[in-house]
């Protein structure tokens, strides 16, 4: 009986382990736990893929100290909702860096996903995606930021991103003269 019981317990734990195998628990810097399917995590994030393969996943929640709960929620949201439609991050060879691979325009749902974010949340998400090595999420968020810069004068960009102008007047003039055509109408 004891053996059976033990067997049963072992089976139970195995079942739990099998159930666990589908998801990964991630822990944000402020201690909140999020679950994400293991397959999606491995596909979308090179870092998580490496951790899963290396067995350094903690069942009680893998500590991601660099990522706040809000950003992690967005990451998990992105993974869970759209895992299936995204090609594996692992398939994108790391040797092809972002500036040689052709850029694929974000799809409609991806646009919506980043459009609803606040300014801060967007940057938190960029940093989180960068930390986790999520190429596609980086593409989407960076695309969003570039959209915010496109066609604007430097003054307007500074205003949007709160960039402090630390040029002297002469330096600024020099830069503008150097490539005057780009500053044609501002």
């Amino acid at each position: 009986m004891e053996v059976d019981k033990g067997k049963g317990e072992a089976e139970e734990t195995r079942k739990v382990a099998e159930a666990d195998r589908d998801t990964v628990t991630l822990k944000s810097s402020d201690g909140k736990l999020f679950e994400v399917s293991k397959e999606a995590a491995a596909r979308l994030s090179t870092v998580l893929a490496g951790m899963i393969a290396g067995g350094s996943i903690d069942d009680n929640g893998t500590d991601l100290k660099q990522i706040g709960s809000e950003a992690l929620e967005n990451v998990v949201d992105y993974c869970n909702k759209h895992a299936n439609s995204i090609p594996s991050a692992a398939l994108i060879s790391s040797s092809i860096s972002f500036n040689t691979a052709p850029f694929k325009e974000p799809e409609e749902w991806e646009r919506k996903f980043v459009d609803r974010l606040s300014h801060d949340a967007l940057f938190d998400l960029v940093e989180a995606a960068n930390f986790l090595g999520m190429e596609r999420l980086l593409d989407v968020t960076c695309h969003k930021i570039s959209e915010m810069m496109k066609g604007k004068s430097p003054d307007q960009i500074r205003e949007v991103f709160n960039i402090k102008n630390d040029y002297t007047k002469e330096e600024l003039e020099e830069i503008r003269q150097e490539l005057a055509w780009a500053f044609y109408d501002d």
Partner: protein
């Protein structure tokens, strides 16, 4: 009399000339005499100054406008009141425009609108204004919200790691990427690294380089993204010895495959430059700027069907000396076009019609210059047009939307037919915002626009108002005569500006010039006794006005002495640095080297090409010591595009050719031709100079010319005043029967040529000839015209000895 003062310069014994080449400076004596222009000359046609750096002009202009906006205009002011609108910074002097002989300068002034209205309009131009910011905010609410939030918080984007910022930059078009460089020091030059190096390629193929090798190295680099691609094929004098660029198209294909955004191609030296063809491959969707020069054919056609947005990002197009281009195919495919600049392009589109219908919405600047086959320019949808320049030897019709608010309008149409002038004046759009209006046309003479007597008051409201297009509350002033009366003052500006220009250009002024300036200052003092408000203007304003004056009124020079052989490449390089900016006078003197060890000077042609490309008006070349000067092999070529040339002095060049088949009107502004020790086909030159006034040939080799024909078929040499043909071989006859305006006729020859002068010509000065044959003597004495006005008659002939006068 012009002829008189030339004597001082030219009557030196030519034998001495060989040994002591005349200094370039001594020409200046000729130039001191004040030009006596009448109204006809005033309307004389010159060609505009084409600015090579449009964007900078615009930049300067916008800034200048901003300054002006703050200024209150009170009350009507006339001539002087125009000037504040031209308030450009000194830096704009290198962006001078105009320089046109008949520049009819007009300012459209806005006197009655409240100043606030102006400043808001100006602010709109500036783009950095609150108005525009607000608009930008309206584009997306979340951006505004984001901005509001960000205002209280730190700068998140600059805090991002560099590779993330680079990643963002790769998603921006080149122009936006460059602009980020102005954000803050953390962004400075970051964009330059956004693609794997090199992100900007500047390829030069010089004689001796192997283009195949270059192509192979490009292939090794692979098709990675690139910002800028520039290809220059330098002239190759010996195509048989050096590698030839067999297939320049492959470079273009490579650039297109790398999704280039800024493309420059200059195939000046391609061995079949005029036959080379560039076909834009598909996949140029990132292209933002295109500059193409010196090519045969450029094709933008796409197969199988035209794609209306093949060039969705293309904003700037410059085509220069392109023989044939299917421009409408291109225009159809670039919906975001902002600047179109076509110069010296031969065949454009079907039947010379340029159609901007499909790409007009964003068009801000349109320049079509010296594309003489253009018959029609349709920009009726270009409501945002700010700058419009049209210059042509013909009279094309054009269509601009009446709602376009132009800052800058330049028309120079030199066609023979006066009929369409009413059309093109009436077709002018709304001129309320205009700061510079320049109209040059021989057609103006035939029109009755300027028949009103010109008022004598200094306020300068004169000429006739252009009625069409000018709304009642705006005054459009056309000022013609006032400036002319102020000739002396003008010359004093010339002195001021020449030193300023010399500083700007980094060019050394010769001592002779300085002497000239002193002379002019004396004149200025004399003129100062009158009320002189115009000289009181700030220098940059006066410089600006000067650029609008013809050369005669504003003599500025860039004299370069080519003494030491080492300096030659230096000079060429400094010229290259200067760029193709407008040039009034270019004087090239290559002195005889006393030291036989000096390397011979092999490339005077490049100087000529440079001067021509700068639209030079006064060209002097003295190549006394050129090592093959007398071998009859050396030729130099006046490239196409010399339509500004007003004076041409050439000495000691073995042969002069024109690099292309001259057509009527090739030198529309050429008035003075002095050729000394030159071999030339003189009749070909005369055919191309409809406005020639002075012709002076000394010791030229006109072998094969036979008769000099001063009355070609179209009889367009009516203006000729002075003919001097001395000791030229190969001339048997001078036919000047229709030169009724002839004032000076000098003819000296060891042979016994014949000549015909119009019986009605009133000669001041007549020198004749000597020869062995007595027979024609009676002929040429009888052929003398009306001698009533003659002041000097010199007849030297051994024939006189036997002739009973």
């Amino acid at each position: 009399m012009e002829g008189g003062s030339f004597d001082e310069v030219w009557e030196e014994p030519p034998e001495d000339d060989l040994d002591n080449p005349m200094e370039g400076g001594s020409f200046d004596e000729v130039w001191e005499e004040p030009p006596e222009d009448d109204l006809d000359n005033l309307l004389m046609v010159k060609v505009m100054n084409f600015n090579w750096r449009c964007s900078e002009v615009q930049l300067n202009k916008t800034r200048a406008t901003a300054r002006t906006a703050g200024r209150q205009f009170d009350g009507p002011c006339g001539l002087l009141g125009l000037f504040p609108l031209h308030s450009h910074s000194v830096s704009s002097s290198d962006s001078k425009r105009g320089g046109s002989g008949g520049a009819v300068e007009t300012g459209a002034r806005d006197e009655h609108r409240p100043v606030a209205g102006i400043s808001s309009a100006m602010a709109h131009l500036l783009g950095a204004s609150s108005l525009k910011k607000r608009r930008a905010g309206e584009e997306g609410e979340e951006i505004e919200a984001a901005a509001a939030m960000a205002a209280e918080e730190e700068d998140r984007i600059s805090e991002l790691p560099e590779d993330l910022r680079l990643r963002i930059l790769t998603l921006l078009p080149l122009r936006s990427a460059i602009r980020t460089g102005a954000l803050s020091t953390r962004w400075r030059a970051l964009w330059e690294r956004r693609w794997p190096a090199p992100s900007s390629m500047d390829l030069h193929i010089r004689p001796g380089d192997d283009p195949e090798e270059l192509l192979r190295s490009l292939e090794r680099r692979g098709e990675r993204r690139i910002d800028r691609f520039s290809l220059t094929i330098h002239p190759n004098k010996r195509p048989l010895q050096h590698h030839r660029v067999r297939d320049p198209q492959r470079f273009l294909d490579y650039a297109a495959a790398c999704a280039v955004e800024d493309l420059h191609i200059d195939a000046a030296g391609h061995f079949v430059s005029m036959l080379s063809t560039f076909i834009f491959p598909p996949g140029c969707s990132h292209l933002a700027r295109v500059f193409i020069r010196h090519t045969g054919r450029v094709s933008f056609r796409s197969f199988p069907c035209s794609d209306a947005s093949r060039f969705p990002a293309l904003e700037v197009i410059h085509l220069y000396l392109v023989r044939s281009v299917d421009i409408n195919e291109l225009l159809w495919a670039c919906p975001r076009l902002q600047t179109l600049d076509l110069r010296y392009c031969d065949v454009l589109g079907f039947q010379g019609v340029i159609n901007l219908e499909s790409s007009g919405a964003h068009l801000r600047s349109l320049t079509v210059a010296e594309c003489n086959r253009i018959t029609r320019l349709d920009a009726s949808r270009a409501t945002g047009l700010r700058s419009f320049c049209l210059s042509s030897a013909q009279l094309p019709t054009y269509n601009i939307p009446a709602t376009a608010s132009l800052d800058d309008l330049y028309l120079s149409l030199r066609g023979q037919n006066c009929e369409p002038i009413k059309h093109w004046i009436q077709a002018l759009p709304n001129l309320a915002n205009l700061t510079v209006l320049t109209i040059c046309s021989v057609a103006l003479r035939g029109s009755n626009l300027f028949t009103d007597p010109i008022s004598q008051n200094k306020r300068g409201v004169s000429g006739g108002a252009v009625e069409a297009g000018a709304r009642e509350e705006h005054h459009v002033l056309i000022e013609i005569r006032e400036w002319r009366r102020d000739e002396k003052e003008t010359r004093s500006w010339g002195a001021a500006s020449s030193s300023a220009m010399a500083q700007l250009l980094g060019a050394s002024t010769s001592k002779k010039q300085r002497a000239d300036e002193e002379g002019e200052e004396i004149e200025a003092a004399a003129a100062a006794e009158e009320e002189d408000r115009i000289s009181g203007l700030p220098e940059d304003l006066r410089l600006r006005i000067l650029t609008l004056l013809p050369l005669k009124s504003a003599i500025r020079t860039v004299a370069r002495a080519l003494g030491a052989p080492l300096a030659r490449t230096e000079v060429l390089r400094s010229l290259e640095r200067r760029g193709l900016r407008r040039l009034d006078r270019f004087s090239l003197t290559i002195e005889r080297s006393r030291n036989p060890a000096d390397p011979p000077f092999r490339a005077p042609q490049r100087f000529i090409d440079y001067a021509a490309a700068c639209g030079v008006e006064d060209l002097r070349v003295d190549v006394a010591s050129h090592f093959v000067s007398w071998t009859w092999i050396r030729r130099f070529t006046l490239p196409p595009g010399c339509s500004h040339l007003a004076r041409l002095f050439i000495r000691h060049e073995a042969g002069v050719s024109f690099g292309f088949s001259l057509r009527f009107d090739a030198f529309p502004a050429l008035e003075v031709v002095h050729l000394h020790f030159v071999r030339i086909d003189i009749n070909e030159l005369l055919w191309a100079c409809p406005r020639l006034k002075t012709l002076c040939l000394r010791r030229c080799n006109c072998q094969g010319a036979g008769a000099i024909n001063l009355m070609p078929a179209r009889a367009h040499l009516k203006t000729i005043e002075s003919v001097t043909v001395l000791e030229c071989s190969g001339i048997t006859h001078i036919d000047a029967r229709k030169a009724h305006g002839l004032r000076s006729f000098r003819f000296s020859s060891a042979g016994f040529p014949t000549y015909d002068i119009a019986g009605t010509a009133k000669l001041d000065d007549h020198i004749s000839l000597r020869g062995q044959n007595r027979k024609p003597l009676g002929h040429w004495i009888r052929a003398l015209p009306d001698l009533a006005n003659l002041t000097v008659l010199t007849i030297c002939s051994i024939g006189l000895r036997v002739c009973a006068l």
